[in-house]
């Protein structure tokens, strides 16, 4: 029975049966394609609405202007004008009244509506039910390597494909399965939509675990909002280098860290390191943080799109992303760190395929200036003005061209002298490394610079849909610090690149574009785990199921690390040698570090390894936080951070080392943890999107 999903093959059917079923599958396929078109259209609409919304993200604006249209709000109404979902203060015109008399801001209302229409409210939550099967059965079942289905797929496509693979051969069993799996692997984009979307799923979770999650939703929301303020990217958690303003000062300490990288133990240092994050880099990465407005949407669109283009394109999507844009995977520290090691690593990786990689890495010297500006060393000014630009895709050269025409009404970067020397900088997100950086020239002493410059990115067209272009404007301070003049982000999934039009868009401040879900804004893959709290033998199950079982001391937390999906490729040949590391915070003698064995050359590795944390009371777990991080094993240098998850109740904070760190778990991270606590002695399984950073907000 558990094999059901595994072994979809129609080999055991007679020919006529196969035909019948295939016919059904074809009808379904038709329906699904129409449906995906519809869904895509809806999501495009939503994106449009969102883009019109002036303020984005975590409500860092003045309370006295509407979060949507930016009309001033009267002081009296401020208190009653906060949208419950996004926490923006909005004016009456930007509200949509719900049937029950409450209201949401227009964007949130639209979003909720789109969720209904697309079915995302349901599909986003795809944890299988809590099973009443004997737990080992369930585990065994879920240990099986299932082919991945797209979230809307209902297996039809899979069946269809697999049956197409099977010719008439009567005994294709093992073979089919293999084809199957490899297909699933080749086609990571199918999983993306599924897993990415799950990030938003905590809303729908509530219905299932109402009394637990209700408050979590709030807190998850809050915490993610707050964390977005300080959340930093540094997906490389490894870099011990505190980013300092002064490169030279840092080099001694930092390089010792980096160049000691010949030891694999490197990774072990990480958690402590993470806590050491200097306050400076809190600012650094905020720039990048905002990235895609809502990653889920674009990439869902991608998967939709892939379908229409046939299956070829889909293979190129996620797994290869790193391939064509080498900087994505590596070099995020390289941005700050021009040390030999990273350069060596860089070349070692031979990401020759990308046209942009090599020469841009050489050009870094010239751009060091702005690197520091990103390291938080910049002035902030009140953002104003707009950018006029257009984007197009050049089929011949296979490149995306961002034409920066001009800017109007920029703020003065140098406030004392009331002048600006603006230049425009572009990143093709999610790659925010130097490989993705393009800059225009600097125009002196003007707030209305005219550039008429084209910034190019060599990239496959099919890969564009997961990307977005971040355009930022900077003041070049020759004798003073650079200043950030504003930015905007354009997701490419809905951009018409065939008939480019000049667009004129208002610049926004950084905080505005920092999204609450920022740690998730770069898709890093997923981690599939199962959690079980094993009650001590003495306590009766009945007692434990109740809210309190205070007496127990000897309980155990079992963390089954099943598999990861769609990991970033870090090694030549588009693979990674990954392992998972677990910490249970606060660290005690019993909850030390655990690691899985390394699974080589696999971006969808199966670890099937269990961490056991002993001597834990159920009550304690509420105050604890489990951090699982995935690493690419590097024999000769430091391990590369591939992503991580943080499981906790999502509330409060926790002492890690000397620092107080907020338990900023969100979505499934919270619900899975809750599930585990709610049902001791049974496995709670979940697929968690990997965070691109483990940085949490320190207090």
């Amino acid at each position: 029975m558990p094999e059901a999903v595994d072994m979809i093959n129609l080999g055991f059917l007679s020919e006529s049966e196969q035909e019948l079923i295939l016919e059904v599958l074809r009808r379904d396929e038709e329906l699904r394609q129409a449906e995906e078109l519809r869904v895509r259209k809806l999501k495009t609409e939503l994106l449009d609405v969102k883009r019109k919304g002036a303020k984005r993200g975590s409500g860092r604006y003045s309370q006295h202007s509407c979060g949507r249209c930016q009309e001033p709000l009267s002081r009296l109404t401020v208190f009653s004008s906060q949208c419950k979902m996004c926490n923006h203060y909005v004016c009456r015109n930007c509200r949509t009244v719900l049937p029950k008399g409450s209201w949401l801001c227009s964007v949130c209302a639209k979003e909720s509506d789109v969720k209904k229409r697309t079915g995302d409210w349901f599909y986003d939550q795809r944890v299988t039910r809590f099973s009443t099967l004997a737990t080992h059965d369930l585990v065994r079942a879920s240990l099986k390597k299932r082919p991945q289905l797209k979230k809307r797929e209902t297996a039809g496509e899979l069946l269809l494909r697999s049956t197409e693979i099977i010719p008439d051969s009567p005994t294709p069993k093992p073979r089919t399965k293999q084809n199957h799996l490899s297909r699933a692997n080749e086609d990571p984009s199918t999983e993306n939509s599924e897993s990415i979307a799950s990030r938003e799923s905590f809303e729908s979770k509530d219905s299932v675990w109402p009394h637990l999650t209700r408050s979590d939703t709030e807190s998850a929301e809050n915490s993610s909002i707050t964390s977005s303020k300080t959340e930093t990217e540094s997906s490389r958690v490894t870099p011990e280098q505190p980013r300092r303003e002064d490169h030279s000062v840092q080099s001694s300490s930092a390089e010792s860290g980096v160049s000691s990288s010949t030891f694999p133990v490197k990774a072990d240092i990480v958690p402590e390191v993470k806590l050491d994050s200097s306050s400076l880099d809190l600012d650094v990465d905020r720039l990048f943080k905002k990235s895609i407005k809502r990653d889920p949407r674009p990439s869902e669109c991608v998967s939709t799109l892939d379908l229409h283009n046939g299956q070829n394109t889909s293979g190129a999507s996620m797994g290869n992303r790193s391939h064509s844009v080498p900087g994505l995977d590596i070099q995020e520290d390289g941005e700050e760190e021009e040390d030999i090691d990273s350069l060596v690593n860089f070349h070692k990786r031979k990401m020759v395929s990308s046209s942009s990689s090599l020469h841009s890495s050489k050009s870094t010297l010239g751009s060091l200036m702005s690197l520091y500006s990103e390291a938080g060393d910049f002035d902030s000014v009140e953002v104003s003005g707009e950018v006029v630009f257009s984007m197009s895709y050049n089929e011949r050269t296979q490149s995306l061209q961002v034409f920066i025409e001009e800017c109007h009404g920029l703020a003065c970067g140098d406030t004392t002298r009331q002048l600006s020397n603006p230049y425009v900088k572009c990143y093709l997100l999610p790659d925010k490394s130097r490989q993705s950086k393009r800059k225009t020239s600097i125009k002196k002493n003007t707030v209305n610079p005219v550039y008429k410059e084209t910034l190019k990115y060599s990239i496959n067209r099919s890969q564009l849909y997961t990307r977005s272009v971040l355009i930022s404007v900077w003041h070049y301070g020759r004798f003073s610090r650079n200043a950030f003049l504003g930015e905007l982000e354009i997701p490419l999934d809905c951009q018409d690149l065939n008939s480019p039009q000049m667009e004129r868009m208002a610049l926004m401040s950084k905080a505005a574009s920092a999204l609450p879900t920022s740690a998730f804004s770069h898709y890093k893959g997923d981690l599939v785990i199962s959690l079980k709290y094993v009650t001590p033998k003495k306590a009766t199950p009945e007692k434990v199921k109740g809210k309190k079982a205070v007496t127990e001391e000897g309980g155990e937390l079992h963390v089954l690390i099943k598999e990861a999906k769609n990991l970033m490729a870090m090694k030549p040949g588009d693979t990674s040698d990954s392992f998972v590391k677990g910490y249970l915070f606060p660290i005690t003698a019993k909850t030390t570090k655990k690691k899985t064995p390394v699974v080589k050359k696999n971006l969808n590795p199966h670890y099937d390894h269990t961490f056991v944390y002993k001597q834990l009371a159920l009550e304690q777990l509420k105050e604890m936080c489990l951090e699982l991080t995935v690493w690419d094993k590097e024999a000769m240098s430091s391990n590369e951070f591939l992503g991580g998850v943080r499981l906790s109740s999502g509330e409060g904070s926790i002492k890690i080392g000397k620092e107080e760190v907020a338990m900023d778990s969100v979505g499934e991270e919270v619900s899975l943890w809750q599930k585990m606590m709610q049902y001791p002695d049974s496995w709670a399984e979940g697929t968690l999107p990997l965070r691109s950073t483990m940085k949490a907000e320190g207090k």
């Binding site: 079923i21 209904k116 599909y123 809307r152 509530d206 675990w209 209700r214």
Partner: protein, 219 residues
Amino acid sequence: MASATATYGQKESSDQNFDYMFKILIIGNSSVGKTSFLFRYADDSFTPAFVSTVGIDFKVKTIYRNDKRIKLQIWDTAGQERYRTITTAYYRGAMGFILMYDITNEESFNAVQDWSTQIKTYSWDNAQVLLVGNKCDMDDERVVSGDRGRQLSEHLGFEFFEASAKDNINVKQTFERLVDIICEKMSESLDAGDPAVTGAKQGPQLTEQPAPPHQDCAC
């Protein structure tokens, strides 16, 4: 209801004029009447002859409910064990299940528990389930009383109907109730961000809520 185009097929499936799309799966032992049930609902037709379903099939029907046009893709599954690998693959992504037994067939009733386990194993968390005792027109041959059905449904936390595809009893009601439940679930899950609403709704509505009112058939 106002399902003007109740015929299935290209016309219906290519129709994009709807608000929501729900996927529903009908499961249960072989020959309990799943296909008949679907045909009655989608085509308003009934044939007493038994033709075993091969693997899976589906029909599309758009209904008008709660001021929304809802397109239903209703999957009919083979009850036979040999197709199980195919049918269970369709559990994922199904928003609603109609779990059917035959009131004249004890075995099919006894299998309900297993089917329910299957749902829990393969379906997604917030999928909704209705238990239906079919063939309630054949009261003479009844071996499963309405009470037993009801009790089991309460035990499992599903709502319950007795129905007859042949006499068209409770067929439409079953589907409409399921659609309503899914709609409720949908609003619930989206309003979850609203503390005021969910705060009030805490408590009994956990994963397996006992079914509220039962609308059994009169026979």
